[in-house]
Symmetry: C2
DNA sequence: ATGAAAGCGCTAACAT
DNA sequence: ATGTTAGCGCTTTCAT
C-alpha cells in the first residue's frame, strides 16, 4: 500500500505538506497542491484510517451492538440508524452479541479494542457491569428500543402499546387471549405486563401459566414452538397476542397447519410492524414502531452526546400506532 | 483509555514485558507475569487493535461488501459467512454499497483506508476498475453468489437452476409463464436466460417484451411493481417465475389483492429459499441456494487465499435444489 | 529474562 | 509556506 511518505518522496516534499493537502488545509502553494493532488490520483493513495484515528484520537465511527441472530426487526431499525449516522459523517462498525454472558464480555472487549466515537445499542444487554465499563471508557452510548441505566434511550412505551394491542382484541369481543413472548429481553416482560393489565381492566384474571408462553428468541421458528405449546395446553382461546411480528408469523404458520382459519377461528396480533407483515396473508394487525424516527433520534442524540460530552434527553418516549389489518376480527359464534 | 505504557509504569516494568505477557510469549518471569496479569484484570486494559494492526500489518478482519438495502437473502448468507469466518479467528467489517458508481468508488476508498486481511463480496460490483484496484492492493477477495473476473467465486449455476424452476412449471402443464427479475445484477440476466432456454426447450418462443419484466431491486416492493406491470399488459398467463423470493412475495401480494388464488389460478415459483418462504401462505415453491455451504466455502477459500497468497479454486459451482411446496400446481381447466 | 530503540502511517505543534 | 520533531499505542529486533 502506498503511504504518505511515498507520496512525499515522489514529489520531493515533506509528509506534512502532503497531509495538509489531503486534509484541505490552507497555507500551501497552489502549484505544489496541484502536483500532489495529481500524484494522489495517479497512485490511488488513500490515507490509512487507523493511523489517522490514532493521532486524532477520534474515528468518526460508531459501534452498533446487535444480536448475532440479527432479526428482521433489527436489520430494519439499523438501516435507519445507519442512514442518519452517515448524514452526520459517521461510519458504522458492527458488534454481534449472543445471548450469553461470555459473549457479552467478549463484546465489551472488542468494543474497548476499537477506536470508537460512540456506541448505539440495538440489542439489549442487561448486565450493569457492561454499562459501568462503558462509562469508565467515557464513551457516549445511546440505546434504541430499550431502556438502559444511566444512558440516553429512545423507545416507545412497550407496556402501553401492548395494552392497546390487547385492548383491540378485547373490544372485538375476545375474552380468551393467549400471549407468546420471548424472555431475556425486558421488552418481553413489559409487553406481557401490558397484556395482563388490559386483561384485568376487562375483568379477566391474570393467569400467566395458562395465558402466556415465553420462548427463547424472537424468531418465527420460536413462534412456532410457542404456538405448539399453547395448543398442547388447550384449544380454548380465540386470539393470540405475539410480542413480536416474527413470533406472530411462526404462530400463524402452526395455526394454519392445524386447520385454524385466521382471523375467522383465531385472531392474531403482532408487535413491531416489520416490512414483511404487510405482505403476509392475512396481513398482520400489529403495533407499529416508528423505525424511521427512532433511527433519526438515536443518531442525533448520539451525535450531540459525542460533541458535548453530555448525556442529554435521557429518556425519549416515542408514539406507537396500532395498525389494524386482516389478522383480527370478532371471535367465532 | 488505559494503555500499555500505563500498565508498564504501574508495575515498574517496560512496555515490552507487558506486551510479551499480553501476547502469551515465553521468556518472562512467572511472578512478573502474574503481577501484570493481575493489573490488567483490575484496570480492564485491552490492547488497541488499530495500533496492533499497524505494526503487525495484519488485522484478522475481513471486509464484507453488501448492498445498502441489505435484503433478507444477504442477511441470511452473511450470517453463515460470519459464523465460519469467526471460526477461523476473523472479525468482520461491513461496507455498504449503493447501486451507483459514486457509491462503488466510495466503497473502494473505504476499503483502502482500512487495514483488512481480505474481502468477501456478497453484493455484486461489476465495474472492472474495482477489481483492478483490489488486485493492486494485493488484497485477497472472494465473491459469493456471483462470478467475478480474476477472483475466486462461489455460486450455484444460476441459469440451470432457473431452467429447472421453469421446467417444473412446464411439467405441471403451464405454457403461459411470465418472469419478474431485477436488472443490475448478473444473476438477473442469467436466471432470465435459464427461463428462456426452458421455454424454448418446450417449444415456446422467446418473447422478452411479453414474457419478462425487469425491475430495479430485489425487494417485495419491486415485486409488487413488476406484477402490476405484468397485469397491465394482459392477464393471459397461469404462472409467474420470480427471480428472487422477495420478488415473489411482492408478486403474490398483488395477485392476491386482485383476486387471484395461488396456486389455483396462478402458480408462483421463487428463487433463493430465504427462511420466510416456508412461512408464507401458501408456502413458496422455490430454488434453494445452499446458504450454509456457500458461507462455509467462502470463508474457507478466503482463509486459504490469505495464508497462501494464492488464488485457489477459482470457480466453485455448488448444487442447488428445487423445493416444491404449495405455490405451484397444474394450470386452471 | 528484560529493557531500549525503532518504526507502523499519520497529524500537529513548533520552527523557520 | 514548508520542513522537522514528536508522539498516538503497539510489537519487535537488538542489546544486555
Amino acid at each position: 500500500m502506498v503511504s504518505i511518505k511515498d507520496i512525499a518522496k515522489q514529489v520531493g516534499m515533506s509528509p506534512s505538506t502532503v497531509s495538509r493537502v489531503v486534509n484541505g488545509k490552507k497555507h500551501v502553494n497552489s502549484e505544489k497542491r496541484e502536483q500532489i493532488l495529481k500524484l494522489i490520483k495517479e497512485t490511488g493513495y488513500v490515507p490509512n484510517q487507523a493511523a489517522r484515528n490514532m493521532v486524532l484520537r477520534r474515528s468518526f465511527t460508531v459501534g452498533i451492538v446487535l444480536t448475532d441472530t440479527f432479526n428482521i426487526f433489527q436489520r430494519q431499525l439499523f438501516s435507519f440508524v445507519e442512514r442518519h449516522l452517515n448524514s452526520f459523517g459517521y461510519n458504522t462498525h458492527f458488534f454481534f452479541v449472543k445471548f450469553e454472558q461470555v459473549s457479552e464480555e467478549e463484546c465489551l472487549i472488542k468494543l474497548k479494542a476499537e477506536t470508537l466515537d460512540g456506541i448505539i445499542m440495538i440489542h439489549e444487554i442487561r448486565n450493569p457491569v457492561f454499562y459501568d465499563s462503558v462509562r469508565k471508557m467515557e464513551l457516549p452510548l445511546v440505546t434504541a428500543t430499550f431502556n438502559s441505566p444511566d444512558f440516553p434511550s429512545i423507545h416507545v412505551c412497550e407496556e402501553d402499546a401492548a395494552y392497546d394491542a390487547v385492548d383491540h382484541l378485547l373490544k372485538l369481543g375476545h375474552r380468551k387471549i393467549r400471549m407468546i413472548s420471548s424472555n431475556g429481553l425486558s421488552c418481553g416482560s413489559q409487553r406481557a405486563e401490558g397484556f395482563f393489565r388490559a386483561l384485568e381492566a376487562a375483568g379477566i384474571k391474570r393467569n400467566p401459566d395458562e395465558q402466556t408462553i415465553f420462548v427463547r428468541q424472537d424468531t418465527a421458528e420460536f413462534g412456532m414452538y410457542g404456538m405448539r405449546e399453547l395448543l398442547l395446553r388447550n384449544r380454548d382461546f380465540s386470539a393470540i397476542f405475539a410480542a413480536t411480528d416474527e413470533l406472530a408469523i411462526g404462530a400463524m404458520r402452526v395455526l394454519k397447519d392445524k386447520g385454524f382459519r385466521i382471523p375467522e377461528d383465531v385472531s392474531v396480533v403482532g408487535f413491531d410492524d416489520i416490512e414483511i407483515s404487510d405482505y403476509f396473508m392475512p396481513r398482520l394487525t400489529t403495533i407499529r414502531q416508528p423505525f424511521s424516527e427512532i433511527g433519526e433520534r438515536t443518531a442525533l442524540l448520539l451525535h450531540k452526546y459525542i460533541n458535548s460530552g453530555e448525556r442529554v434527553e435521557m429518556d425519549t418516549v416515542l408514539p406507537y400506532e396500532l395498525i389494524i389489518r386482516e389478522s383480527t376480527c370478532a371471535p367465532p359464534r
